[in-house]
């Protein structure tokens, strides 16, 4: 592989002045927990920490809090900037800020890094105090319900009995849905974006290829790469490249790269020739510099295992029957990783369970990635759903 030369044209840079609709500089905080957390796998986390950020102000009734759940490679830094040298703001900066869809003038927004992550919450790169070494591959595999349980404990620590809303896209949407099942009285609204009630065989297959890419990297060393002072960079980059293809649509890739050649001509070798190759390698290598391979493996497993209806005879309506919140389900027309038809499965189950739900398929060319873009209809419906003061109708 030659060195990637791709540099995105629209490279975001920290604006010289913080825009008025930005939450500005934010500082991550850490919550410590000493009560053991029993996990789906049967194992237990004796103590752990969660890194999180908050934007906006919690009101006196503690009733205006919104929880943001992150997706596969996300983290707690959802909005604003950490320092002036930041190249870009938090991952959902487009939707979180003063006057934005998730309006920090009105809401107190909480965004955390999930357990098993690699951005400050307890995970494979954390030191296991019993051995003095990183957990590495010995860190327990997390299930979505474990994350939600840990998020509920964070809510307890923050004094939030009931979220105004729990919001998430992709794997984050699955957490939002899990909240409505496991803690029905602790959220008023639930926003499930570009998600699915469970993965298909095709979804799991993509995850398995990503895992194989990582585990077959000679530098992986069965997950103990830190003991060998190395990282499975190639494998993680490959996993990310594969994932990235599934996050984009055929149309958006055609639009972005077409068959453009990096050097303007065919070279009849195996170096980078097409722009799309350059882009993918760049994305893969950027990612492998900042993300932990064991975390990536763990996150894909949490996705594969997610199937809340399994505990209810595979009846999703039954599974959602105890929920008390109002739902907004959103999908994107060109998303094929979690296609609109998958969101419709959630909607249909909610309809059959006679729960209050609204659904919109947003016409967008960006594929699965669309959930991170400020598409006007998307921003508008999200903003209006959150703003409506009505208590859920008795359905």
């Amino acid at each position: 592989m030659s060195t990637p030369t791709y540099s995105p044209v629209k490279r975001c840079t920290m604006p010289s002045e913080i825009p008025a609709d930005s939450v500005g500089y934010v500082e991550p905080q850490i919550a410590y927990f000493n009560e053991p957390l029993p996990l789906r796998s049967g194992r237990t986390l004796d103590s752990y920490q969660l890194v999180y950020e908050t934007y906006g102000t919690l009101n006196a009734q503690r009733s205006n809090a919104i929880l943001i759940c992150h997706a596969l490679s996300g983290h707690h830094h959802a909005a604003g900037y950490h320092q002036a040298s930041d190249k870009k703001p938090g991952w959902w900066n487009e939707c979180i800020g003063p006057g934005k869809a998730i309006d920090t003038n009105h809401y107190f927004v909480v965004s955390l890094n999930n357990l098993g992550g690699c951005h400050g919450s307890t995970g494979p790169i954390s030191i296991d105090t019993s051995t003095g070494e990183p957990f590495g591959p010995e860190f327990p595999i997390m299930a979505v319900r474990d994350w939600v349980k840990s998020q509920a404990r964070l809510a307890d620590q923050l004094g939030i009995d009931c979220w105004q809303a729990v919001v998430g896209g992709s794997l984050g949407g699955m957490q939002a849905m899990r909240w409505s099942i496991d803690y029905p009285s602790r959220l008023k609204k639930c926003v499930i974006i570009a998600a699915a009630p469970k993965l298909t065989a095709q979804n799991i297959a993509f995850n398995e290829v990503a895992r194989q890419a990582i585990t077959s990297d000679p530098d992986f060393h069965a997950g103990y790469y830190f003991k060998h002072q190395t990282l499975p960079r190639k494998g993680l980059a490959l996993a990310r490249m594969l994932g990235h293809i599934t996050y984009l649509s055929d149309d958006s890739m055609r639009e972005k790269f077409g068959r453009d050649l990096a050097t303007g001509k065919l070279n009849f070798n195996y170096e980078i020739e097409f722009e799309v190759e350059s882009y993918l390698r760049y994305q893969g290598e950027q990612f492998s510099d900042t993300f932990d391979a064991n975390t990536y493996l763990l996150m894909t497993k949490a996705l594969d295992y997610y199937d809340p209806a399994a505990d209810f005879d595979h009846d999703l309506s039954q599974c959602l029957s105890k929920s008390q919140c109002k739902f907004l389900v959103l999908s994107f027309s060109t998303d094929w990783r979690f296609a609109p038809v998958r969101s419709k499965e959630i909607v249909n189950a909610l309809l059959r369970a006679q729960k209050p739900v609204s659904y919109l398929e947003i016409d967008a060319p960006q594929g699965h990635d669309a959930f991170l873009f400020p598409i006007p209809e998307y921003v508008s419906i999200l903003q209006k759903f959150l703003a409506h003061p009505g208590e859920p109708d008795a359905h």
């Binding site: 609204s358 919109l360 016409d363 209809e377 409506h388 359905h395």
Partner: protein, 199 residues
């Protein structure tokens, strides 16, 4: 308030479970929720109208009515409503039967193609009728299955559907004695309350 809402509203009992197919901006559901304490959903295909529904707090599902409602259980609603959309569907007969499968009763409104002005237009000009309510040409109109009241009632008979009530009104949703006398000629819009016959 839209005048057709008054007619529809009086056929709905307080607290009913409603599905409004082609609910537009949700005005009718919002009215029925407020005045009749109904619960339920709207279905709509237009994004901006869906956003307006959400803004009002009306639950709405993005759905093409032609795609079918198989995922909804039998008799899961008291009343299924469809106002001024039947003539735009691919299979009006199938839609009517679906409405009466998922709902105990249905309320349907549609424009009368047997209205004297349409007859006159076709008779004298020899062209597909156009009017204020049907402003588009034959090739670009969404109204692909226009019918007269008589056509609709024949369909009901063939499909074993009972007509519980029928109100025929003019373009301003006013019911006059002339219309009562000769509805299929003078009525512009009909509002039908229907149910499936017991087999």
């Amino acid at each position: 308030m839209r005048t057709d809402l008054q007619f529809i509203s009086q056929w709905i009992k307080p607290g009913e479970r409603i599905l409004d197919m082609g609910c537009g901006d949700g005005a009718m559901l919002a009215y029925l929720i407020k005045h009749k304490s109904v619960t339920g959903y709207g279905m709509e295909i237009d994004t901006q109208k869906i956003i307006t529904c959400v803004e009002r707090g009306v639950d709405v599902i993005h759905q093409n009515l032609n795609d079918g409602l198989r995922y909804l259980d039998d008799a899961s609603f008291d009343t299924v409503i469809m106002t001024q959309s039947l003539q735009q569907t691919t299979n009006p007969d199938k839609i009517i039967n679906e409405m009466l499968r998922i709902g105990q009763r249905a309320i349907v409104t549609f424009p009368n193609f047997g209205h004297w002005s349409a007859r006159l237009y076709l008779g004298l000009r020899g062209m597909m009728p156009m009017s204020k309510t049907l402003p588009l040409r034959w090739y670009n109109t969404p109204n692909i299955h226009l019918c007269t009241f008589k056509d609709f009632e024949i369909l009901c008979q063939e499909q074993n559907i009972n007509i519980l009530k029928r109100t025929v009104v003019d373009h301003d949703h006013v019911e006059t004695w002339k219309i009562k006398l000769w509805p299929n000629m003078l009525g512009a819009i009909a509002i039908y309350h229907i149910e499936k016959q017991e087999v």
